[in-house]
Amino acid sequence: MEKMKKNLVIVGGGPAGMAAAVAAYDKGERDILILERDTALGGILRQCIHNGFGLHRFGEELTGPEYAYRYEAMVKERNIEFMTDTMVIGIDRERTVTAMNKEHGIFRIEAGAIVLAMGCRERPKGAFNFAGTATAGIYTAGTAQKFVNMMGMMPGKEVVILGSGDIGLIMARRMTLEGAKVKAVCELMPYSGGLARNIEQCLHDFDIPLLLSHTVVEIHGKDRLTAVTIAEVDGSRRPIPGTEQTIPCDTLLLSCGLIPENELTRGAGIEMDRVTNGAKVNADRETDVPGVFACGNVLHVHDLVDYVSEEAAIAGGAAVRFLRGETEANTLIELATDGKVRYTVPERITEIKETKVFFRVGDVFRDKKIVVRAGDEVLLSKKKQKFAPGEMETVTLPADALRKAEGKTLRFSIED
């Protein structure tokens, strides 16, 4: 078996992996290898041909492939090594990476540091236990997106979408532009998990109804889907008898959440956060295994790729500092939440310096404050018109504030 040595191995060549590699290079590291399972760099952005990417990062509106191409160009300009069609099949706590591809067969790399950037997958249809037969015509929104945008095929003509996640909203518009009729978007929750701008631009602009507090209760058809029965749900998300209506359609798209793809992470025994479904990390995005970092959607699901790039640059830069022995592993401050704030990234702080904390809320809150406390002392309090589960939020904690919290737990809460 072929064996290699690399200072920095990056698992995944999507927006997170590429941004981590570029940041590491720009911090002076030259011995970098990106491993990508698909046929090209770019990750899921390759099939996201709509615009809206890059406003924060590049100050202009780009399509997914354009955004990916900018990073691919940066990778290539720097001559950063990458392998496509390469599947990583295991990593361990000693930072050994096992991978396979056509050229090398199964091979091992001893890595000085690893950045995990495997992205996420969609919640599949099996998770819903729909009553009915397993007909053709039921897809996750991302699979439909691949068929339409990458293969030029139409998965259906009359469409119902369950879930109002961003990919579902984007696909409602995309299918409509391709001549399909999108009859309804059903959302189990009383609010949408998608970005407000996508609800405007993808549903309202095309007169596609968004049915909040609705779900699919039965699917019909033997070979191909012929209809779905939907129903309104009560406060505990159970269908209300008598509210059922059957909508004829040949396609059901599911956009009901994304799950970080952490099989490799779990395989290495890395400590996980049960809320994010990603690894627990410090502000450097370093996991509990020294020298193993995580960033992008494999760490927690982001709504904007711009934030993925930002986070990946943190991880890539920190990996270089790790290789030089400049990082701190001892936890000084733990971060905790009140449930209204669902999670924070990072989950712990190991260095006292200005730190940006990403967080998400679990419900829609209007005219409330995000409050950060160390013990009884309020370190930060910021009012906002609206907090929504679909939008990632950030607060920046100055070094002075963190110094006061050393040895304590920082509590994040939503308050009046």
Binding site: M1, M87, T98, I106, R121, A131, A134, M151, D223
Partner: protein, 477 residues
Amino acid sequence: MYNYCVIGAGVIGGMVARELEKYDRSVVIVEKAGDVAMGATRANSAIVHAGFDAHEGSLKARFNVRGSVMMESVAKELGVKYQRNGSLVVGFSDEDKKTLEELLERGKKNGVRELRLLDREEILAIEPNIGDGVTCALFAPTGAIICPYELCMASVGNAMDNGAELCLNFEVSAIEKTETGYKLTAADGRTVEAKTVINCAGVYSDAVAAMAGDTSFTVIPRRGEYMLLDRECGSLISHTVFRCPSKMGKGILVSPTVDGNLLLGPTAENLEDKEDTATTAKGISLVRTQAGEQVKNINFGKVITSFAGLRSVGSTGDFIINEKDGFINCAAIESPGLSSSPAIAEYVVELIRKAGETLTPRKDFIGKRAPLHAFREMTEEQKSEVIKKDPAYAHVICRCETVSEGEIRAAIRQNPKPHDIDGIKRRTRATMGRCQGGFCTPYLVRILAEELGVPETAITKFGGNSYLNLGLTKNRK
């Protein structure tokens, strides 16, 4: 003119066809669906029963016990995964305990070995996640698990490798007695002639028998609904955990599968429609409730799919296996049909001999079949060797189950060849993992279209009108 025509490419048809191929005779299998294993074989409990359930003297008891003994070596020869994990029938009351004692006695009479009763302590020692209400159990160490459609594909494939022919989409619509045998006509007009016909048509075996003039029995479909959980959950228990049978029926089981998943089910509901494999909210909820009583800590958040199958319940209460004028019924093969399949196949040969035929074993019959899952089970060194010969084995298509392009192409080229995405799924496990085909389905469409030489839009999920795509985008038009 063939010597034998087997109607139905389920596990019974497959095992019968393979058994017949051992002799110097020609065999054709006709199947109404677009693939093998599409009836009860596709969706059942995947259990090789020990044999204590059926009444003494019945065909079910006889073939179950014999089949259970034969299965391990048959599976090994065919390269099919088989695991003797043992089974427990668990009881919740003193009344249940009496039933278990009866089952123990019946099992002994049927010739099942090593059966014994366990108390709660003893159960906990071997199965720590057993339900809190369980007080007693019948332990059958000879119970085993197997993948039914894998066994079916392997037996049909091995029969074909030895010369059998397979006609798919051949829905028998008429059977005519001729001077030399039988002439079968399909719905689309194709015909097949054979000296002897073996009716292994599952839920339709009564209709097929009636076409040949035998209206002595009927078969009704009994639906069973199942849930399949992620491989993360497969190690929750190691034995198959049955529920003590009551007046309400056999109840559901909780079992690991040979692929490492956890299987829950089935419900039991008699239907009229022989095609109705829909799951219902009621059925799935019953499976959840009962499974949770038998085994605790089941993580229902890890359900990857739910499905339903139809058992062939005959009007006699037993398997209907007989021969008259060169027409052999293997009908009403409900549970324990999978367990009995090797013994039934052996018995069909006996019936043919009794009818006066002299069968001479072939010298060139090759009973062994290389399993498709071989690559997954190789050491890293062996895998590297295979990749050197065919680099497509290093190209992972299904990332959840780590199935490579090499395995997928091999599956498409191996007997019996798949023609749709579900066919690839059953042969390779691609799409069967956590993402349920979210990432790999488009790639599978491309590979299958390439291998079959058809446009990508012609690819179906499981034949018929189950097209995955309904046209091209504006740009590609």
